[in-house]
């Protein structure tokens, strides 16, 4: 062996750096948050409170727990049904606004319909039109990031202050704005990531850029666009439930009222209803995804080949038209039935109210002196007294929660992947199994997926609200709530990566005697690691956004100050904290996007 050859693996690599950084950042976050049991209020007994709350899970009720309800008041089951229907109504109306708007903005934010090198000439006109398109692209990107950067609850707070929040449409618009931003971002990315060759072919056959977009790129992207829309519908149901905490008559309001009155059996019934509804849309989404990505099985060719007979025998999925018609009917019903969407109770007209609100957004010293220079010491003072601490808390909370979710997610993910947790892993015929062993593998797989499903079905805001009741009002209930929800989401995304991954290497390892876990760690994890990291960065950006609003549950993150200033009608200060949140979300968006770009290049 030549002397120059060293047998030591390189100490630093991109992956090692990620793993070392993971533990370092987790340590720093946990140290910053601290684990101080003195934070618990003296009067509270978390163990007893948890026991009371969780023991009620086994005995949900369908009747009122309140013994002193007046005769003739709406029965409990009717109340939660109305709450649930309202939740769906808000979600459907918001989606019906967000999807078309997101599609339009997504189109403007994608580059795929721009003139290609194959068609464009290097003329002055081409140069000007390209510069114009670039300006349009950057403006649209800014608008959609801004829409996304403000959480639906904060949009709702703003609308409550500006327009009066009595009307259903206000809540729906509050929900639709950030959803439009998210749709536009994801739609543009899906469209841009499609195979270039088909569009190129249309251009070479004499078609225009728009024809190439409409006839090749868009149809190719359509399954992914529809799948994502269904996933967001599930998210909008969760968000719509959370709007209940600001007074919208959704299931969230019912959960809040029952919990504050210690009617835990009622809370569990409401949670079960919410989880069940989200699960229906989750299962529906996965059924549709399967059909959109796979062609239906062909039927036997007709004896006589005419257009009519071929059309009659064309292979098609029966479920898809049923789903599309049901969803469109849902939207129509949501818009046309139920309480008046535009109801408004106030002595001021909407215009007067908005004008007064806008006036109050101007910093107080500027209102008095009419000099915008006075805004600088005002902002500096706010930043030093509360902004800096709130911002640090927001980022630390989000990061700690995500890293905890990652840690526990990695432990459970192999056991949720259908190709591994199976009595025939990777379709390998194992030694004869007893029926019990076969059933055991089925139970392990189902239970793990069910844990992930439950974790992601309950919105983090509701989990945090419930945990604060048990553990008291400090940072850890928020960290745990965010971690539980993200654990459920990462679990689903990662197990899908494992299931769709090429399992040839893992299969070979198992045939040669490796265990299921070894085959996952050595056969699947190394090549899917980058994709898993992509999802971590994507979720971090979302966590920062969510941790901002979790502060509204009286903990000192940005949401806390936004909520306080709003309730004292100090809208100038409220706007300061909202803008601070927007800046941190823009920054996390940019950081996350550059890290994801680097990973994709690898």
């Amino acid at each position: 062996m030549p002397k120059s050859v060293t047998l030591r693996a390189p100490l630093w690599s991109w992956r090692r750096l990620c793993i070392y950084s993971f533990f370092l950042i987790l340590g720093v976050c946990l140290y910053t948050l601290g684990l101080d049991f003195n934070q618990l209020p003296e009067s509270s007994d978390p163990v007893a409170a948890a026991k009371d709350f969780f023991s009620a899970a086994l005995s949900p009720t369908l009747t009122d727990q309140n013994p002193s309800l007046p005769v003739g008041s709406e029965p409990f089951i009717q109340r939660i049904s109305t709450g649930l229907l309202n939740t769906l109504r808000y979600a459907f109306i918001a989606m019906s606004m967000a999807v078309p708007a997101g599609l339009l903005l997504g189109f403007l934010a994608s580059r795929s319909w721009w003139p290609k090198a194959v068609t464009s000439r290097k003329s002055a006109l081409a140069l000007i039109s390209r510069s114009g398109l670039r300006a349009l692209y950057l403006t649209t990107r800014f608008v959609i990031t801004f829409m996304r950067s403000i959480h639906e609850l904060i949009w709702m707070l703003l609308f409550l202050a500006a327009l009066g929040g009595d009307s259903t449409i206000t809540a729906c618009v509050a929900l639709a704005i950030p959803f439009t931003g998210t749709f536009a971002k994801v739609f543009s990315e899906i469209i841009d990531e499609q195979n270039e060759q088909n569009s190129q072919h249309i251009l070479l056959a004499g078609g225009s850029n728009l024809q190439a977009f409409v006839a090749a790129r868009f149809p190719q992207a359509l399954p992914d666009l529809l799948t994502y829309t269904l996933y967001r519908l599930e998210c909008s149901i969760r968000s719509s439930a959370v709007l209940g905490f600001l007074g919208a008559e959704t299931i969230g309001l019912a959960i809040q009222q029952s919990y504050e009155n210690n009617y835990y059996n009622e809370v569990w019934t409401e949670l079960y209803f919410l989880i069940f509804t989200v699960m229906i849309f989750d299962v529906l989404g996965s059924c549709v995804r399967k059909r959109l990505n796979h062609a239906p099985l062909p039927k036997v060719a007709p004896a006589k080949l005419s257009l009519l007979s071929l059309k009659k025998n064309a292979p098609r999925w029966k479920l898809l038209p049923v789903v599309w018609i049901s969803l469109l009917s849902g939207i129509l019903i949501a818009w046309n039935f139920g309480d008046d969407l535009y109801q408004y109770y106030s002595s001021l007209s909407r215009l007067e109210r908005t004008q007064s609100f806008i006036q109050q957004l101007i910093p107080e010293p500027v209102q008095l002196s009419q000099n915008w220079r006075d805004a600088i010491p005002w902002a500096k003072d706010l930043w030093l007294t509360s902004g800096k601490e709130a911002l640090t808390n927001t980022v630390t909370l989000a990061t700690a929660a995500l890293l905890l979710a990652v840690l526990f997610g990695y432990i459970l993910v192999p056991w949720a992947s259908r190709n591994i947790t199976n009595f025939r892993p990777y379709s390998i015929d194992m030694a004869a199994h007893s029926k019990l062993r076969k059933a055991l593998w089925g139970v392990i797989g189902f239970s793990t997926r069910f844990i992930f499903l439950i974790a992601r079905s309950i919105p983090e805001y509701i989990i945090a609200f419930l945990l604060i009741g048990i553990l008291g009002a400090h940072t850890w209930p928020l960290v745990l709530a965010l971690a539980i929800h993200n654990f459920g989401i990462l679990g689903r995304l990662w197990s899908e990566i494992s299931e769709n991954h090429d399992d040839a290497v893992a299969k070979q390892q198992m045939i040669r005697g490796a265990s299921r876990l070894q085959s996952y760690v050595c056969g699947i994890l190394p090549t899917s690691f980058n994709r898993q990291l992509l999802f971590i960065f994507y979720r971090w950006e979302t966590c920062v956004r969510e941790s901002t609003i979790l502060g509204m549950l009286s903990i000192s993150s940005l949401g806390y100050y936004i909520s306080i200033e709003s309730s004292f009608l100090r809208y100038d200060r409220m706007l300061f904290f909202i803008l601070l949140g927007t800046i941190i979300i823009f920054a996390s968006d940019l950081l996350s996007a550059s890290l994801r770009k680097k990973l994709k290049r690898e």
Binding site: V118, N198, A205, Q211, A215, A216, Q220, L305, A314
Partner: protein, 248 residues
Amino acid sequence: MIQLNNAHLHFGSTTALNGFDLSIQKGEQVALIGPSGSGKSSLLKVLATEHALTSGSLAIDSSPIASLSSKSLQQLRCKVGYIPQDLALVPNLKVSQNILLGRVGQQSLGSTLKNLLIPAKLRLAEVLQLLEEVGIPEKLFHRTDSLSGGQQQRVAIARAIYQEAAILLADEPVSAVDPSRAHSLLDCLTDLSRRHELTLICSMHNLEYAKKFFPRLIGMRDGKIIFDGATESFSDKDFSELYTLINA
């Protein structure tokens, strides 16, 4: 009909076409042969007007490409059908929709949308007839990604014929199919080009198929034309020299 003079094509420091003249007449059936990296695909891409020559000139139907306006270039592209190696079919569209996209250059945006969503019976009947010619009429309303590789190649051929192009370019059209399918596909392609009076230019890896199906062969290596003429005029020695590695 196709005239290339002193054709050069460079991608950075890489030379794809290294200065040659070429003339192909209307209705000819030509196979481009040569080792990998010899410039066959680059030549097809230049003829499909996907790449512009770095220097030299290309004229199709006596029109010099470099001096054409955008409108004239678009009209010319309608006359050139191109089947790339990866076929460029939209996988989740139906076979009928993919074939109807052949005439996209002759339609407005509105007609393209109409053809995709509610195609006229007359157009569908035309497509069905073409599918009968390539041997898969029963696949008219099937999703394209449910077809086998050979069937997808037939769809790509049908789309190129439906385009009503005067020139048909095909890049390795039988590279991914078994010998019996390759045989029937080439038979179908050359027969259709003969019946529709198309100029057919195919790049081929398989020498036997090139000799069997094409009356004219062009041998390429290192971006240059090594030989060009009637198939029967070349000996085995010519072919073995073409494929001999320079460093060997």
